[in-house]
C-alpha cells in the first residue's frame, strides 16, 4: 500500500480500548492501545474483528479518525440501529476490552502532509471521520496546504469533534450544511447540499485542488456529480462510500 508498504500478510493485532469520547448521543470515539502499530496515513481504514465466546466472528471496516500517537489509534463509530458490530462498539464495549484490528488499509483515499495542493473535504454525517484525520494530520504536520471542509449533518446535535471544530483554525474554512434542523440563531432553512453551496465552498477550478468526499452512498454520488458539473477534473475527486444503498 502506498506510503506504508506492507510485505507479507497484514496481521491481526490485539487492540484494547483505552478511552472513550462520546461524540453524539449515537456515536463515540474509541481510543485503542495497539502496541507496535506501524503508523498510517490520514484517510486509511482498518478492519475490526469481534469474536464471540463460541468462536463466531464479525468484522467491519472503520476509518482511522486521527494520526497515530505511538501505539494509540482512534476510530469513531456511529451506531446503526440493529447493527451487529456498531451496536456492540457503541454499547457494551468497555475500557480494557480487546478487539482485533488489522491495517492500515487503502492507499488512494489518503492525504499526505507533503501534498501542497488545496484540499476540499466534503463530509456527510459519519463521513467526517477520515476527513477529520486529514484535518488533524495537517495540523500535526504544520502543513500550510489550504483546507476547506463542507460538513453536512442532519441536526446540530450530530456534530462530531465539536470542541475541536468550533475553534477557529488558520487555513481551515468550514461550511456547515444542516439538512433537518438549523442551529439556534442561524438564519435559513434546513436543506441538502446543493450546487450553490459547493460552488462557493469548492476551490475555483484553476486551483487544482484535490477533493475528498465521504459519506453515505447517495450523498457521495450527489456531491461528486455537483463537482463534476462545476468542471472539476474527475481524477481530482476521491470518494469513500460508507453506507448501504437501496435499489
Amino acid at each position: 500500500m502506498a506510503g506504508t508498504a506492507v510485505s507479507g500478510r497484514l496481521a491481526w493485532q490485539v487492540a484494547r480500548l483505552a478511552a472513550i469520547r462520546q461524540e453524539t448521543a449515537t456515536a463515540r470515539t474509541l481510543v485503542f492501545d495497539i502496541p507496535g502499530w506501524p503508523g498510517h496515513l490520514a484517510g486509511q481504514h482498518v478492519d475490526v474483528r469481534l469474536t464471540a465466546a463460541d468462536g463466531y466472528t464479525a468484522q467491519r471496516s472503520y476509518s482511522l479518525a486521527a494520526p497515530a500517537e505511538g501505539g494509540r489509534v482512534e476510530l469513531t463509530v456511529q451506531r446503526v440501529p440493529g447493527g451487529e458490530v456498531s451496536e456492540h462498539l457503541t454499547g457494551p464495549y468497555a475500557i480494557g476490552d480487546p478487539v482485533e484490528i488489522r491495517g492500515p488499509i487503502g492507499g488512494w483515499f489518503v492525504w499526505r502532509p507533503a501534498d501542497r495542493a488545496p484540499v476540499l473535504l466534503v463530509a456527510g454525517g459519519a463521513g467526517i471521520v477520515p476527513l477529520m484525520a486529514m484535518v488533524r494530520a495537517r495540523r500535526a504536520a504544520g502543513s500550510r496546504a489550504l483546507f476547506r471542509l463542507v460538513y453536512s449533518l442532519r441536526t446540530p446535535d450530530e456534530l462530531y469533534y465539536a470542541d475541536e471544530l468550533r475553534k477557529p483554525y488558520a487555513g481551515l474554512d468550514i461550511t456547515y450544511v444542516y439538512t433537518r434542523e438549523m442551529p439556534e440563531g442561524r438564519a435559513g432553512i434546513p436543506r441538502r447540499l446543493d450546487v450553490a453551496t459547493l460552488n462557493s465552498a469548492a476551490w475555483p477550478a484553476d486551483f487544482e485542488a484535490t477533493s475528498y468526499i465521504c459519506g453515505p452512498t447517495g450523498f457521495v454520488e450527489t456531491a461528486a456529480d455537483i463537482l463534476l458539473s462545476l468542471g472539476r477534473d474527475p481524477r481530482s475527486i476521491r470518494t469513500e462510500r460508507f453506507g448501504p444503498s437501496r435499489d
Binding site: T51, P92, Y93, T217, P244
Partner: protein, 199 residues
C-alpha cells in the same frame, strides 16, 4: 480462535454455506468506487478486447446487444465484508467476446471508463465464469453499479468485477491493477479470504 471480546455474541450467524468466511449478508446493494461515477452514454460506449499481439476487436452498444447473451443468477462477495445472494443479471460471456482471437495470454487487465483497472487470470474469465453484464434485476444496469456495462466475475471479490468496463487487454504478464497496487490481493478469492497482499 481469535481473542474473545467480552459480551459480544454476534447476530448474523455464519451458518449459511453460501457465505464465505468473514462476510455478512446484505439485502442492500452497497456501492463502492474510487471516484465519481462516470456517466457513459450508450452512444459513446465502446468495448474492446485487445490481444498481446495488439489485435483489437471492438463492439458498439447495439453490437453488444446483438451478441448471444444469457441471464445468470449469482452470489457476490465484496471485500468490505458484505455478500449478496441470488443477484440476477444479463450479459455476454467473456469467452463469446474473445471468440477466436489468437491469444496465448495468461492474464487480462480490465480497463474502465474513469481510469480504474483490475487484473485477472484469463482462465478465470472463461468457461461461463465471467460476463460483460448490462442488466441487473431485470433492468438496465444503473451508472452507480457500473452501467452501461460491467464485468461480473462472481467467484472473486467484487472489486475484480470492474464497473464501466471499456477494454480487456490480454497479456502474458500479471501486472497489478488499481486496488492491487494499493495493497489488495492479486487474486481475491473470497473463500480463502484473500483480501490484502499476502493473505
Amino acid at each position: 480462535m481469535g481473542v474473545v471480546t467480552p459480551g459480544f455474541t454476534g447476530r448474523a450467524r455464519g451458518d449459511n454455506p453460501r457465505v464465505p468466511p468473514g462476510q455478512y449478508l446484505t439485502e442492500d446493494f452497497p456501492v463502492l468506487s474510487v471516484g465519481p461515477t462516470p456517466r457513459v452514454t450508450t452512444r459513446q460506449w465502446e468495448f474492446a478486447v485487445v490481444t498481446e499481439h495488439g489485435e483489437r476487436r471492438s463492439w458498439s452498444w447495439p453490437e453488444l446487444l446483438a451478441l448471444p447473451s444469457e441471464k445468470f443468477t449469482v452470489d457476490i462477495h465484496c471485500v468490505t465484508q458484505w455478500s449478496k445472494l441470488d443477484t440476477r443479471w444479463r450479459g455476454v460471456r467473456v469467452e463469446t467476446l474473445i471468440g477466436d482471437l489468437d491469444t496465448a495470454a495468461d492474464y487480462a487487465m480490465a480497463h474502465c471508463y474513469g481510469g480504474y483497472t483490475t487484473n485477472l487470470p484469463l482462465a478465470d474469465l472463461l468457461d461461463g465464469q465471467a460476463w460483460i453484464a448490462y442488466e441487473y434485476g431485470g433492468k438496465p444496469l444503473t451508472p452507480e453499479h457500473g452501467g452501461p456495462a460491467r464485468l461480473v466475475v462472481p467467484h472473486l471479490y467484487f472489486w475484480k468485477s470492474a464497473k464501466w468496463v471499456r477494454e480487456l487487454r490480454l497479456t502474458g504478464k500479471d501486472d497489478p491493477g488499481f486496488w492491487e497496487t494499493a495493497g489488495y490481493h492479486d487474486y481475491g478469492d473470497p473463500w480463502r479470504e484473500q483480501r490484502y497482499q499476502g493473505d
